[in-house]
Symmetry: C2
Subunit: 330 residues, 2 copies
Amino acid sequence: MQKIYVLSEEDTKQLLEMDEVIEAIENVYREKSSGSGKVFPLVFHEFKRSVADMDIKSGTLDEMRVYGLKLVSWFGDNPSKGLPALSGIVMLFDKNTGLPLGTINAEHMTGMRTGAAGAIGAKYLARKNSEVMLMVGAGHQASYQIRAIQTVIKGIKKVLVYDPMKFESAERFVDRFDYKSDGIEYIPVKDLETAVRSSDIIVTATPSRKPMIMKEWVKKGTHFSCMGSDMSGKQEIDENILKVARLFADDIPQSISVGELEMGIKNGAITQEDIICEIGDVLIGKCDGRTSDDEITVFDSTGIGLQDIAAGYMAIMKAKKNNMGIEVEF
Amino acid sequence: MQKIYVLSEEDTKQLLEMDEVIEAIENVYREKSSGSGKVFPLVFHEFKRSVADMDIKSGTLDEMRVYGLKLVSWFGDNPSKGLPALSGIVMLFDKNTGLPLGTINAEHMTGMRTGAAGAIGAKYLARKNSEVMLMVGAGHQASYQIRAIQTVIKGIKKVLVYDPMKFESAERFVDRFDYKSDGIEYIPVKDLETAVRSSDIIVTATPSRKPMIMKEWVKKGTHFSCMGSDMSGKQEIDENILKVARLFADDIPQSISVGELEMGIKNGAITQEDIICEIGDVLIGKCDGRTSDDEITVFDSTGIGLQDIAAGYMAIMKAKKNNMGIEVEF
């Protein structure tokens, strides 16, 4: 009799460790660049314009021996009924046999894999002596980004938190942030320009549709991990920054159509040829990341389904090893 | 805390009743023809040519208030390892909230919904006074087809079973068929031509790649439900039958690309304009089915993902009502 794992959000919180997720996502980028990781065509359906939609992202990680999909639904009216607007579910299959491995709640896992992506951008592209991180956006994703960055950048001394809507959100975020690390100061900030001027690593995770960070404020050697833009029309940083920066993406076609690089290309500030390469190409040594301490680097992370497949697979492997989660006859 | 249902193959065997599945699949065809049922683009990936592949079929049934997907994997080397070559899993979501409803083993359910489809073809297109059914193919699917036909065609007196590979398979099938009905004779047959000449309803469910049934053998008023062709190149009946028959499909574009009608169109025996309509159009009264007792009718059923969504949804609703299956925190 066949069995599958069913992992709840609570299970994923217990099973997933940030350093391990970062390692898994690095492998995803490597597989994508070497060709063993393949992204299948996206399925998207809008039930009601700007109110309810769903998408199915799927793909295979042939080295990891797993394939699968994530279905994410967004129902904008849900919060008024006391339900979450966003929900997601991952399904995984054994690449050796095609048999189902399990079903995983995608909510916490998506936060983890997105945090990992931002940190991988910083790990491979930021200056080695980076000390100050600026988190732009104090929402749900900020916590994952900070956890991940302090996992990979050991020299971090200060984390500045800025909220584009109101200062109180940044204050409250810092108060409640559960993963404070010894030797790091966490500081809510009111003035974005001053914060940008003093930062080595800037992570943006907002739903912004117009640039918040101006080129004049950015010091030499700054690294940006731009996490917020995942839909056409979104933009977080001044396209003049893109003009002078070394540009990297998780998936070039997706960055051009929905990522941070989209508006820069549409407005003519940059062209597709200005994108150095995908981050996976840096990881496998096919392309250079940062080449000097003076350069500004930008990693445009739009998110790919393979990240969910890898994170979910790790959760199932750990559940099996530690006898956690629920295994159900199928 | 959110919960989802997980229904195993065993659960679906206990939960699904053929008459109810038939009703659900009729509603699928109605929704498809009225426009409230929508099929999303197919995702297909071949891991290794002719050895291993997977597809994701998805869609929404807006009237039924459910959407979802079925992922089916085919790993041809599995039987040599003692594993099933084909495996599938269905995931369903509440159309009102986007929240996941459950995960269902698709194996038995696919048999049921395919049986239901063949029977709906007969119910709406065969002569009302049909008495003899011929089942061509004595494989896994034959049992579901016969169960479904005897559910909807009350006048059936004889079921002939023919296996294109060997007679013994037909004999063994009849011996082991678990759903024998009082007043019906079940007869394995050796000679296909004689069987065709005496049959009112012919259901084909084989992997054939060349026509098995010739036009000269077919008597006036015969109905065909062609279930076997679901891949380019497959063909079960002589294309000269298509020339003189009233033709119906579950999904016209799919029939033309992979169904029984494909080869007839490719060989020039018929054109796309010869297809009367989709079966759903008959069910909603938009188009006439059979118009006289002399006509030959053909229903080309290629299978659509919406059938799995409807059958799975019924299984979950019944599990909830009867307190069956497993409900898991998610």
